[in-house]
Structures are given as C-alpha cells and as structure tokens.
Amino acid sequence: MDEKILEIENLAVEYRTDDGVVKAVNGLDLTLEKGGTLGLVGETGAGKTTTALSIMRLLPDPQGVITSGSIKFAGQDILSLSKGELRKMRGQHISMVFQDPMTSLNPILTVGDQIAEAIRLHEKISRAEAAVRAQSMLERVGIPPNRYSEYPHQFSGGMKQRVVIAIALACNPQLLIADEPTTALDVTIQAQVLALMNKLKNDFETSMIIITHDLGVVAEMCDRVAILYCGEIVEYGSLEDIFDHPEHPYTKGLFSSIPDLDTRASRLTPIPGLAPDPSRLPKGCKFANRCSMKRPECVKTDPPVVNLDDLHRVKCLLAQGKDAEQHATLG
C-alpha cells in the first residue's frame, strides 16, 4: 500500500457558544495516500471546513474544541505539536486555500509581499531573493510578475484566487487543502483555476484535499471521495466507487438532486426535508429523517461503518445487510 500522508481517526470537534454546543464533526476517520487527491463532499454545515481547520489547527479560539481523536500528518501527531512546531508545519508542510478569494488576501499589503512573506517564514533567504521567488510563483500561477507591487483590490476574483494558490504553494507543501476554491468564481474562470490547480499539483507533487459541494469538481480533480453528512463520513471510496456504485442513500440522493446535462428528465428527485440542527443531533442515523429507505432500527442505533471492499466503506444499516449477503453468497 502507498505511504499515508494524512491519517485522521475518530475526530470530534465542537463549537461552544453562548447558545449551546454545536457538534460539527462527530467521529471522523479519514486517510490520504501520498500524492492522492481527496474530495470532501457535503452540504452547508456538514463539517467540511471544520475538518480542514482541525488539520491546520486553526479552529476559532476558544469556541472550536477538538474533543477526541487524532490527526497524524506524515506519521506525526498534529494534535500534540507545540505552537512553534505548528507554525513550522503551516505553510511549509500543509497549506490551505480558502473559499472566498475576495477576502482571503490582506487588502493593505501588495500581493508580492504576501507571497514573499510566506517564503521568508520558512526559508532563510534575503528579502530580495524572496521577492524573486515570489515573482516566479506569480508567473507559475499565470500572473505577469510585474504585477508584484499591486494591491489585491486591483485584481479580479479569479486572479486573486491565483495569488492565494501561489501563497499556498510558495514553500512546496506536501499537502494542500483547498476549501471550495472555485465556488465564488464564474464557470469559465473556475475552469481556468481548476486547470491550474491540476497542473501545479503534478508539478509540485502535492497531495490534496478538495472541499466542495460540487460533484462535478470532484469528478474532475479527485481520486478518492468522502461524503460528509452531519459531521460524519457516510461514504468513502475511490472516485469509481462513489460515482459508479454509490451505496449510501444520501450519496444517491445527492446525485439525483443534480440536473443531468445529457438527458432530459422532467423532474428531479430531491432529498426531502432538512439536515438536523447540529446542536441537537438525533441518536440513531443522522440521515434517517430524510431517508427514503429508513427502517425502524435506523432511528434507534447509530449505524456501523461497513467495509464493502478494501477502500469502499459506508455508514448505513442497509449496507450491513448487503455485506452479510455478500459474505453469505461468497461463503
């Protein structure tokens, strides 16, 4: 098996606010092989961004608390790192691209300085050398290096996101986490940015986690997919597993909610209802109230994770039956 760059086990994260405790991530297991690209898919409030911020250890302080679990990056436990070690890790080994390019750049510093800052934090080079490096980074993300001394407000949204990517890749990190990197962009610009990310990923040999709600982006960029619902991974597998044989009713529901460009269906099949309030999650399966295949036992017990094969796993009682059947027929 390939070397694992990231291993998350049983991660649980809460936000403690005046209005109560919101359980954003509830027992999440995830691994990423070196050089792989993982798509983290889910809707608003599913815990995608929280997971990413936990890996970076950038959860809002003091509200966001990791209550259990472990996160290992290249074999090292991130949760036990000191502040100084975390700083060394951020930007140098793990980088992050945030959702909204409009607000991710500091408006009062030139884009060049913001890239050079990232380089100088992790490498002992002079200001002038850092500037040269920053210019070459700009060039690599498709921005003329002579725009080094311009300010973010002088760039369009797509260009800003390129700058953010340049900052993230400036120190050649082993892992890049991209949180909805193209959601705020128009579709033609999205295509440019996705193409750029694919190219840079190959050039830099970076492992990547892409957080998105768009299955189209996943299909294009990822080789592994994790579907999140209410802070849990309800289904995980290779791209083919998820797109060819989705097992979890939620995954299937997601696919049938999207209009298909190639066929003309008169109606979509949406998932009925709403996701439960994250501050008062139900005891059993968290998807049960919206599930068309719900059985009485679904609301009573938290479904176990079922391994369908080496990679493909599903957190659903129905799959358990299937698993047993499979074993029965095999046996």
Partner: protein, 291 residues
Amino acid sequence: MQSKQTDRSRKNYSLWLSAWKRLKKSRMAMFGLALFAIICLGAIFADVIAPYPYDFQNLDETFQFPNANHWFGTDSVGRDIFSRILYGGRVSLQIGLVSVLISVTLGGSLGAIAGFYGGKTDNLIMRTLDILLAIPAILLAITIVTALGPGMFNLMLAIGVSSVPSFARIVRASILSVKEQEFVEAARLSGCNDAHIIFSHLVPNIMAPIIVQITLSMALAILSASSLSFIGLGIQPPIPEWGAMLSAGRAYIRNYSHIVLFPGLAIMATILSLNLLGDGLRDALDPRLKN
C-alpha cells in the same frame, strides 16, 4: 452554523420581543436601565422626595458636610445639595430629551431624505452638514448660545443643532444599507408606493441603530449641557443645574470639596447609565442575527 431551527421554536417572537429578551440577559445593560430609572424617578418626584426646596437658603447652615439632615451637605448659602441634585436631574433630563428630540427630528429627516433620494439632494444636504461637522460641537453650541443668550430653551436648541450632523449621517447610512436590500424591490413589485416603502419597510429596519444613537446622544447632550453651564453659558442661577453647581462650588474646593463631589457624581451616574443601556441595546438589537 444553522439558525435555530423552526422545529424547535413553537413560539414565535417578534424581533423587538427577542431583543428585549437578549437585553434582559445582559447584566450591565439592566444595571444601566435600573440606574437610569432611579435617576428619572428622583427627578420626576423631586417635589415629593426632596427634603428642602431647591432655592431654600439657610444662612445658619452654610458649608455643612454630609450629615443626617443634609445627606449631601449644604452649599455656600446653606442650600441642601441633595435636594438641588434631585431638581437638577429634572433640568438635565429635560435638556437631554428635548435636544435629542431636536436632533433626531432635524437630523433624522435630513439623513432620511439624503439617503432615500440620493444624487444631488444627497450631495447638497451632506455637504452642508459637513460644514457644521467641521466646527467642534461644543464651539458651535457656544456660538449659538452667545447669539441667543443663555437659558434653558436656547441651550437645548444649541445642543440639539450641534448634533444634527451626526444623526443625519447615521440615519443616512442606515437607509442606504437597507435600501439596497432586495426586499425593497420586492415591495415595489408588491405595489407599494414611496410612503409605504419608507414607513413599512425602511423605518422599522433602521429603528435599531437610531434607538441606540438616541440613548448615547442623550448622554452626550447631558454632558454638553453641564459643560456649558460650567463655563457660565447654560442654566442661570438659582435654577439648580449640575454643571452650574460645580462651577459655583469651585471657589470652595480647598475646604469644602463635597460641594463639587456630588453634582459631578450625579452627572457621571446619569451618563454611565445611558452608556450602559446604549451598549446593551446595540448588542440586543444587532440586526446581524445569528445565522
């Protein structure tokens, strides 16, 4: 994060009611409210509470330190300071209220017109108000009082006018931010005319910042009134006014500091109560409801 889900809230609170519920949770704001209520009651019922008339001079009991008969002592002509502070509250609160009313009405309507109609009207109004803003408020008030002569109403007018620009700015900014919202377009499509839009859509949505501003401005107005009285431009003797009492007591601070202690504390308590209340209201009425 998700809003508090509907499934949970069987009871539906109006926004004002939920703001009050939030305000009640803030101890500081409730303390401010209580303090302010006490000051108001003391002023309103001064006739009943005050042990002496405010202008009753007892030349046998001058410069008394606080004691059982005169809780806050007496001044240079033997007047009871506690009684004078109660009556002084009337003056200060009246000035605060009326001058804020003046600035709310004038500034509010100018700001609303500027914000709602925009363009040249906006430019004309705001540039004119910029001129008033360029003069430090207390100097503008001094100039107005100099021209009109001292007296309670002139003082109210001077203070009211000098805070017109800041009210206009706040109302204008709130109108502008609400006007951009899509529900205003929706209202137009629903057949609302300008008056409907202003009164049933814009006004309810800008009330929150205005209420906060009224509270804070009242504190400022009370401070300005006592400042002007302190330099002899405000309320004239024998009417008890806190600032004037301070000014009159200055001559005796070497030996009888209580004469200036209590009026100052009264001003401070009033302003503090309004500031606490204003801060609490700002948090409670914050339109950025948790989403």
